[in-house]
Amino acid sequence: MSGERWKAAALPVALLVALEIGARASGIQSDALAPPSAVAVALAEAFADGSIIGATRDTLASAFAGLLLGGAVGLALGIALGIFQPFDRLMEVTIEALRPIPSIALLPIALIALGFGYRMEIVIVAFACVWPILILSRAAVRSIEPRLIEVSRALKLSPGDRVRKIIVPAALPRIFLAFRLAAGIALIVAVTVEIAINPIGLGASIMTAQQALRPDLMLAYLVWIGLIGYALNAGLVVAQKHLFGPAALAGEAR
């Protein structure tokens, strides 16, 4: 698009060309590395036989389901904690004790409780997504302009209307940011669970390629995961600009 964007792409493209030339010149035979051209061919093949599409579907389905589940819990808790200070004090120790647990550390328990498959992965992704959304939405609710809360008091809005018409729309831009952050985490955690143990999705495909001594295919999956992450973030940034742009801080204008 713009010249700036091409400038930003120049470095990775130059690196790829250098890698290709280097690999061909040295003629290395490696179990970990492959020239970019071989990676591109492996990626094309994986698309041709449909294997990468199925794996992508599995990973994204788990990541999104976990994001929605964890996001819903985190959002509800975050808004409630932001509104009711006593509830926040009551929950503080519990939350601060649970939050530092790495989600991956739940793998053994989740495996025993739920077995292999989507459910176990979704639960772990959800656990990882609850915290950033909880913390950020709580902060978003707390930072709402106090005058708006007074306006809702002066107009005698019911508690439900106050949340629906004032608190959520006012906090929405920051809540959306929290979801963007959590979407990245969801993808990371989903792939990690698959690499560690769960025999589905892109993570498991990387492990299979590794065991088949196919560095080209392994790297192809890596590149693909990077592209998915990039596209996910770019899509959310566009949505954010569209929804909360300066001229149209539009939530629901009825």
């Binding site: 005058r147 708006l148 007074e150 729309p169 001229a247 801080l249 539009a250 629901e252 204008a253 009825r254």
Partner: protein, 271 residues
């Protein structure tokens, strides 16, 4: 304090029988954070009266307004509206905040902001557009229904806030330095519009301002507060003829005399 006596031959309005008062403070004291902000304030505002409150900064004028609004509860004494204690805000008492930019919902258009008040009084969605049109027309924003507050000037935003307050169909309008942040021309225009709107609706008004001329120009009565703690220091009845005019009213000897009296009061209260 020499100035604390009513300086005019009129009987002090506080002597009006409480049955007639719409908003009544009786011996109201408010402590906030261990400090007494308002001490033993008693005053009655009659239905349809335009009362202005002035005072040096920090004298508790905004606090007094918030007590009248039910946003604060007095530590002792009682604030009543139509005889009932103000334990919480009421829908028939509307508040116009000074910081219009913060009091409007930035994610709603002008129409949406007015609609918020109509939604809370339970007006069916089908009747709202006509009423929104009427209200925006009333405050001089007929062609701005689709604009967001960020796209409007300060004066327009304050008009919009007034429209939202009028949508509540208030019996009383409490205004907290509503024009304090506006330029002189916009301010004069809005003063006249508020006088017209109030005359048309018959609403009672408490208007807080630090602008002495504004208080005299608008009010039926002006109360001056003394600071630390806030208490009533002066009470003047304004007998200038209505409708008032930005030029002729401000040139009347009586206007100048009142201005002098309030100016001396403020100067003495700051000393």
């Amino acid at each position: 304090m020499i100035l604390s006596a009513t300086a005019r031959p009129h009987p002090p309005a506080a002597a009006v029988s409480p049955a007639k008062a719409q908003i009544a403070f009786s011996h109201v004291t408010l402590d906030l954070g261990g400090k007494t902000i308002i001490e033993d304030v008693s005053l009655d505002v009659k239905p349809g009266e335009f009362l202005c409150i002035i005072g040096a900064s920090g004298c508790g004028k905004t606090t007094a307004l918030r007590l009248a609004a039910g946003l604060y509860q007095p530590t002792s004494g009682d604030v009543t509206f139509d005889g009932a204690s103000m334990r919480a805000p009421r829908r028939d008492v509307a508040i116009v905040f000074q910081d219009y930019g913060k009091a409007l919902l930035p994610w709603r258009t002008a129409a949406g902001n007015v609609s918020l008040a109509l939604e809370t009084i339970g007006m069916p969605a089908s009747q709202r557009p006509a009423r929104i049109d009427e209200l925006l027309h009333k405050v001089g924003l007929p062609n701005h229904a689709g604009k967001y507050p960020a796209e409007m000037s300060g004066g327009m935003q304050q008009r919009l806030q007034i429209a939202r307050c009028l949508a509540q169909e208030p019996k009383a309008l409490l205004m907290d330095e509503p024009f304090g942040a506006l330029d002189a021309m916009t301010r004069q225009g809005l003063q006249d519009e508020v006088l017209e709107l109030v005359a048309a609706s018959g609403a009672t008004v408490i208007f807080v301002t630090h602008d002495l001329e504004e208080a005299i120009y608008l009010g039926d009565r002006v109360i001056g507060l003394l600071p630390h703690p806030g208490r009533i220091g002066i009470e003047l009845t304004i007998d200038l003829p209505r409708p008032r005019d930005q030029l002729t009213t401000r040139e009347q000897p009586e206007f100048l005399r009142l201005r002098r009296e309030l100016f001396d009061f403020i100067k003495a209260s700051e000393a």
